[in-house]
């Protein structure tokens, strides 16, 4: 098992190198650099930009060096925790992204947990009562959940927040609580502000899990070992919980690797819609202002999150399903 994890980690390294190069190239794609967008801004506000001063700044930030050199410098800083310098915020990238990445991870994990907490019992119930009214209702709801994208749900959530509750639903804290020291009330406020975004984020994946679990349960319930369990007189409850679910849960774990990209994508866009201090809002701003090291580091870390998440999903699957070969 440990050898398997180590092998997978080693296999990740070349991919990571390619991914970081891809990140750097993508971030360099727009014509011009941060200075040109600064210049454009200065020109639009009427103050003419000084060419010499701009070139001076370019030199200071190392923007006049060849791309390959800049890439090497940028990536060489990573082991030391130096991710470059944000031109726009005039601060090291690390200071800017740490809290935001942390919150993105927190939101994703929370929503993953919610997804499983709801999907597993609902999926089992749905399969155990196939074609009942509740089952049909759940199926219809699942299809609906699959069709409403998370950013739209975010908008609808804002809408309901305004019209039904008249409450502040954006951001992480209610107004007035953001700057006070931590207290029970503040933690409660934070969790209530995180709960709904996490639910919205997880809804699409939740419906997917329900459908998969229902399908896999139905399949398992028809198998001989379940018939045997019933034949030897076990109660339906034990048959389902102890025998069927244990086998039927495997596809859910394997699909987790596929759901992570959706979750990270969703967290980015939902963060923008609900103005949460996650990666989303700062990432999009860095992209439009060509704050390249900030944007590139965000992109790289989002990709890294995805890769690590996939690895964890694979390890979890190997853990619970002994039929898997550690190739």
């Amino acid at each position: 098992m440990i050898a398997f994890v180590v092998r997978r980690l080693l296999a990740m390294i070349p991919t990571l190198v390619f991914v970081s190069i891809a990140c750097f190239i993508i971030i360099q794609l727009p014509p011009g650099d941060f200075m040109t967008s600064l210049q454009a801004l200065a020109a639009s506000s009427g103050s003419g930009a000084d060419k010499a001063a701009m070139d001076n700044l370019r030199h200071q930030y190392g923007l006049d060096q060849p791309k390959a050199v800049r890439y090497i410098k940028w990536i060489a800083g990573f082991p030391r925790g130096d991710f470059g310098y944000s031109f726009e915020w005039k601060r090291p990238v690390r200071e800017l992204i740490a809290a935001r990445l942390g919150l993105t991870v927190l939101l994703s994990v929370l929503s993953l947990a919610l997804m499983w907490l709801v999907a597993v019992p609902v999926g089992i119930y749905s399969a155990a009562h196939q074609y009942s009214g509740t089952d049909n209702f759940i199926t219809a709801l699942a299809f609906l959940g699959l069709s409403v994208p998370d950013f739209l749900l975010g908008l609808i959530y804002l809408f309901i927040g305004i019209f039904v509750f008249g409450a502040s639903v954006t951001g992480l804290f209610s107004p007035g609580l953001a700057d006070v020291p931590w207290s029970a009330a503040k933690v409660l406020d934070l969790s209530s502000h995180l709960f709904w975004p996490a639910l919205i984020l997880g809804l699409g994946g939740m419906t997917q899990l329900i459908r998969i679990l229902r399908g896999s349960m139905l399949e398992v319930i028809g198998q001989p070992f379940v018939r045997t369990a019933r034949a030897k007189g076990l109660g339906e409850r034990v048959v389902i919980r102890r025998h069927a679910v244990k086998v039927a849960i495997n596809p859910l774990v394997s699909v987790m690797g596929m759901q992570l990209p959706q979750l990270i994508s969703g967290a980015t866009i939902l963060g923008i819609v609900l103005s949460l201090p996650t990666t989303g809002p700062m990432f999009i701003r860095a992209l439009t202002s060509q704050d390249m090291y900030l944007a590139g580091t965000f992109l790289l870390f989002l990709a890294l999150m995805l890769m690590v998440g996939n690895l964890l999903a694979d390890v979890a699957l190997a853990w619970i399903d002994p039929r898997i070969r550690y190739q």
Partner: protein, 390 residues
């Protein structure tokens, strides 16, 4: 790498076989009746049996037909402005026994404190509707222009806004209808592009194996290491601001297919890997068929059904992606009109609170995505009977 796929593959087939084993009589009788039908006819029959799938297909077809005739169905042009009617709420259609369909007139109010102009429906006044009225001209098939619209106000000076108007006094219904052309075709073009890329690279990768296969697989792995939306955001942010709309449109379809093709390529590679060991491929090779002939004549037709299914299932994702990107001001931009561009108006809390009908395009997006999901699901079940119905 393939560890994750290991347990799910044997499952569905076993389940389907078992379900067949439990009720042996019904399928056998059906077999006799369908004896002599081609594979395509069989798939078609199976598809028609799924009611939700057929309904989904009809709705999808309806959406595309509507998009085709959007200029005629829309009472106004997408950018036609009614300066005196900003932020008009939706007017419902009523039916009068004598005068036919009509909408209520509008009453303008100015809030003395906020100076905000609002419109309310004036139930005392009736604005009759008329069919086939003349309005703003639009091109037909690029050959000639027409100014005929399906319906409009009987008096041209009066506006009829069934879904309200936006910040600039543009009719939402017309914008939703004309915007559907962009939103629905961008997915279509994006899917076609990813199909071309995915089938070529997937089939070649599976057929030749070796070095080519390794390179393609590595490429797919790197692309898949990125979460879709952030990658799309980074790529669309790179599009120069001064590009003409048509070029932006095309660039977005290319960007959308950058990720899309990898799914198809992976699946097709697997299929081709299995197929290339089959006798008919060996036979073709012995008869002196070239690689190109084997691929296009023998392998591609085998996986064609699969390609169609994957394309259909990929459509909703493409439509949603365009909407999300345009919503973030990164995708299509005015003067192009798409559902995502329309939703930009609903971005801030203030307009959401005062003018909730700006959120209406969202309903259309969800409807078309829902229909596509049902349609694609049914198509998959029909084309691949071994896939267990989840």
């Amino acid at each position: 790498m393939s560890v994750a796929n290991e347990p799910s593959s044997p499952g569905p087939g076993a389940g389907a076989a078992l379900a067949g084993g439990l009720a042996p009589t019904a399928p056998r009788r059906r077999d006799l009746r369908t004896y002599g039908l081609t594979r395509r006819q069989l798939v078609w029959r199976r598809f028609l049996r799924g009611r939700a799938a057929v309904a989904g297909g009809i709705v999808v077809a309806g959406f595309y037909l509507t998009a085709l005739g959007a200029n005629f169905l829309a009472p106004y042009g997408a950018d036609q402005r009614f300066i005196e009617y900003l932020y008009v709420p939706p007017q419902g259609v009523h039916l009068d026994q004598q005068a036919g369909p009509y909408v209520h007139g509008l009453r303008k109010q100015v809030d003395s404190e906020t100076l905000l102009t609002t419109f309310t429906l004036d139930r005392a006044r009736k604005i009759p509707l008329r069919f086939f009225v003349r309005g703003e001209a639009y091109p037909v098939l690029g050959a000639f222009t027409s100014d005929l619209h399906l319906f409009g106000a009987a008096e041209p000076r009066m506006g009829v806004f069934l879904l309200g108007t936006d910040r600039q006094g543009r009719d939402m219904l017309s914008r939703v209808l004309i915007g559907s052309q962009m939103s629905l075709t961008i997915g279509l073009v994006g899917v076609v592009l990813s199909l071309i890329l995915g089938s070529v690279l997937g089939v070649v990768s599976g057929y030749y194996g070796g070095r080519i296969d390794e390179i393609v697989q590595r490429l797919i792995e790197v692309i898949r290491s990125f979460p879709a939306i952030p990658l799309w955001m980074a790529l669309t942010a790179a599009l120069p601001q001064h590009w003409p709309p048509e070029r932006v449109y095309f660039a977005i379809t290319v960007i959308l297919s950058v990720i899309g093709w990898t799914w198809l390529a992976r699946q097709l590679r697997g299929k081709v890997l299995a197929l290339r060991e089959e006798e008919f491929v060996t036979a073709a090779r012995v008869m002196g068929a070239s690689d190109a002939r084997i691929i296009f004549r023998h392998l591609l037709p085998q996986v064609f059904g699969h390609i169609v299914v994957i394309a259909t299932l990929a459509m909703p994702g493409m439509i949603l992606a365009e909407t999300a990107l345009s919503f973030l001001n990164l995708g299509l931009r005015p003067p192009l009109t798409s559902w995502g561009v329309l939703l930009q108006e609903a971005q801030n809390l203030e307009s959401l609170r005062n003018y909730p009908w700006l959120l209406l395009p969202a309903a259309f997006i969800s409807a078309v995505v829902l229909a596509f999901n049902f349609f694609g699901d049914g198509l998959r079940d029909a084309a691949d009977p071994h896939y267990a119905r989840a």
